[in-house]
């Protein structure tokens, strides 16, 4: 007879994590999650201590996005749990599979305003795909399996499991049951391929509008095959970048508020827009009722609720892109349109000549993009530097460009880079940050230090909340309210305090050597690039304006 050690809620958690192939988790301990941390002590799962639960949540997001696996984060009850919320909201907005585990006060104390008690289950309703609160330890294994299944099924997203302290301590008395994969709950009607093919074969000026769903569906090969066969001009959303081969002649770049002129004009002129895993977000469409005004719409998605949400579809193709995209891949005769689009792409290409000694951020980003090793992964924070990275860097896979798209969350870049580096220890991970955003999760430099993660940080320093400053200059009569950061700390000293090698550059002539030094350095490195506070992101489609009415300078 074997004397098996009794399983508790805490140990069951790590058993289930391992059954799902989880090797790394990000978290922060506290009173109501101590039994789980006690079980961690005996577990093979590696824990990365972050220095703020928001950092743990973003690291889980970065881990998931860089690896395609589920990201896992842990936090205690009350303030620990509420600190996760921004990361969960970010994961919900960008459809990222994350499982968040929160400790809760013991069931007997729940509902009594106990110390560090907050109704995180209630709070989770608006910022997760689904959530659970487990009150009986025998339910825990099944709930955890379900959490993983839900995070990954259909349109992916974050799931929270709240576990009271007594449940973490309790012994499991029922034998662990096998779990069966959840079936896809939403039965999708058969795809309407016939009418889509009719629309496609009639189109004279079609455009392919590629979203983040392509990468999430693992359908990059199918998308590229579709684009090779149809030779259709294509544009990408922020989250879709990398899905289309950036060297494809028919690829016009990002569309929307800071999209390329060629992309936005092509979309405004097209007679058929094929949306693939994209959702007509307001940053993409500009003024909605003037977006792609002549176009019929074919909409591919896994989420029924996205069809007709912001733009009616003439043909909706619901389901798995890997199956549905090939069904529509037919050769087209659209030579004139292709030529016109390629001509626009050539005519409106990026210009990197920039007068004076000051460093031009787009040129630095382009240089890094050209020099970084293959399979590098770039994360960004939010602001001008983010849009410049999206415009001027090239990616051959969406899992190599991690940026907070739907939520636009400052503070994303550093912890997401940590998660990416943990999941891909041998790849070069570069966080492109701004001087405002960097300070939002600066404590995570400690996580970089502790694990000696060789993350490269490119800090684009304009001593401003630059994107807001740009809007104040353009749309609020230059009334610069609370966007000045000229009293920033000494970033070099700050990085050095965390054992991170750091260098500041201020002149164009210093860029090439500094970029090479950063990329060649073995450990973590911060390169502070001082730029002119007045530099703007162009083009810019002003809010509530049609996308062809873009501003290109002041």
């Amino acid at each position: 007879m074997t004397t098996e050690k009794k399983q508790t809620g805490g140990s069951v958690l790590f058993n289930v994590l391992q059954q799902h192939g989880v090797e790394h988790v990000f978290g922060y301990p506290g009173g109501a999650i101590m039994p789980i941390y006690d079980a961690l002590y005996d577990s093979d799962v590696q824990h990365f201590l972050c220095r703020h639960e928001q950092g743990a949540a973003f690291s889980a997001v970065g881990y998931a996005r860089a690896s395609g696996k589920v990201g896992v984060c842990l936090a205690t009850s009350g303030p620990g749990a509420t600190n996760l919320i921004t990361g969960l909201a970010d994961a919900l907005a960008d459809s990222i599979p994350v499982v968040a585990i929160t400790g809760q006060v013991p069931t007997s104390a729940m509902g009594s305003d106990a110390f560090q008690e907050i109704d995180i289950f209630g709070l989770s309703l608006a910022c997760t795909k689904h959530s659970f609160q487990v009150t009986n330890v025998n339910d825990l294994p099944k709930v955890l399996h379900k959490a993983f299944a839900i995070a990954l099924e259909g349109r992916q997203g974050p799931v929270l499991v709240d576990i009271p302290k007594d449940v973490q301590l309790a012994e499991v008395t029922k034998s662990l049951e096998d779990f069966s994969q959840l079936r896809n709950k939403v039965k999708l009607p058969p795809a309407n391929v016939g009418s889509a093919i009719a629309l496609l074969s009639k189109a004279k000026k079609p455009v392919l509008y590629v979203g983040g769903g392509v990468g999430m569906a693992n359908a990059i090969d199918e998308l590229r095959a579709f684009s090779d066969i149809t030779k259709i001009p294509s544009v990408s959303t922020l989250k879709g970048l990398g899905a289309i081969d950036p060297d494809d002649d028919n690829y016009l770049g990002m569309l929307g508020m800071h999209g390329t002129k060629a992309s936005n004009i092509a979309v405004q002129e097209c007679d058929l827009l094929i949306a693939v895993g994209a959702r007509f977000d307001d940053r993409v469409t500009g003024k909605l009722n003037e977006f792609a005004p002549h176009a019929k719409i074919i909409h591919f998605d896994i989420d029924t609720a996205e069809i007709n949400k912001r733009r009616a579809a003439d043909a909706a193709i619901l389901g798995d892109l890997k199956i549905n995209l090939p069904a529509l891949a037919i050769p087209l005769s659209i030579n004139d349109w292709q030529e016109k689009c390629q001509q626009m792409k050539a005519d409106f290409g990026w210009q990197y000549d920039h007068p004076g000694e000051n460093i031009f951020a787009p040129a630095v980003l382009k240089e890094i993009s050209d020099k970084m090793p293959k399979n590098s992964c770039v994360t960004t924070d939010v602001g001008q530097h983010q849009m410049w990275a999206a415009q001027h860097m090239e990616f051959d896979d969406p899992s190599n460009f991690l940026t907070s798209g739907g939520m636009g969350t400052m503070g994303f870049g550093i912890p997401a880079a940590i998660g990416a580096q943990v999941s891909r220890p041998t790849d070069c991970i570069i966080a492109v940050s701004g001087d405002g955003s960097f300070m939002m999760n600066v404590q995570e430099l400690s996580t970089i230090k502790r694990f000696q993660l060789p993350v490269k940080i490119l800090l684009i320093d304009n001593a401003k909340l630059g994107m807001v400053r740009q809007w104040q200059d353009l749309f609020f009569n230059g009334r610069l309210s609370e966007t000045d950061l000229s009293d920033n700390p000494d970033f070099i000293m700050l990085a050095t305090a965390f054992d991170i090698k750091a260098k500041q550059i201020t002149k164009k002539s210093e860029v090439s050597a500094a970029v090479e030094e950063m990329l060649d350095h073995d450990g973590p490195y911060l390169l502070q690039v001082k730029i002119d506070a007045q530099d703007n992101v162009w083009p810019l489609v002003p809010p509530n304006t049609a996308n062809d009415q873009m501003m290109e300078s002041i």
Binding site: F121, G122, L125, A126, K129, H130, F132, Q133, I150, K185, V186, D303, T304, A305, I307, N308, K309
Partner: protein
């Protein structure tokens, strides 16, 4: 404004009612009336919801359908009407 009546069948799980109410509010539907009961034999709950909105009801139906514990959502055509205000 249009008024609609929805009949929603659910698995009787934690907070399923709260989830439905939250989605209705967030997606821009005012709740005019509600009726909820659970069949303790089957553990299936039935929720009738009267909602009012400028927005098409399909928007709400699709979003409620996405909730994990929902079995079916039906719009009761007869009870759907235009209303003032």
């Amino acid at each position: 404004m249009n008024q609609y009546q929805l009949t929603i069948k659910v698995d009787d799980k934690q907070v399923v009612l709260e989830r439905i109410l939250q989605v209705a509010r967030y997606r821009g539907f005012l709740i005019n009336g509600m009726n909820a009961k659970v069949n303790t034999g089957t553990n299936i709950g039935t929720i009738e919801l009267m909602v009012k909105s400028e927005r098409p009801i399909e928007l709400l139906v699709d979003q409620i359908n996405k909730l994990i514990d929902i079995k079916t959502v039906k719009v009761n055509k007869n009870a759907t009407q235009q209303c003032d205000l």
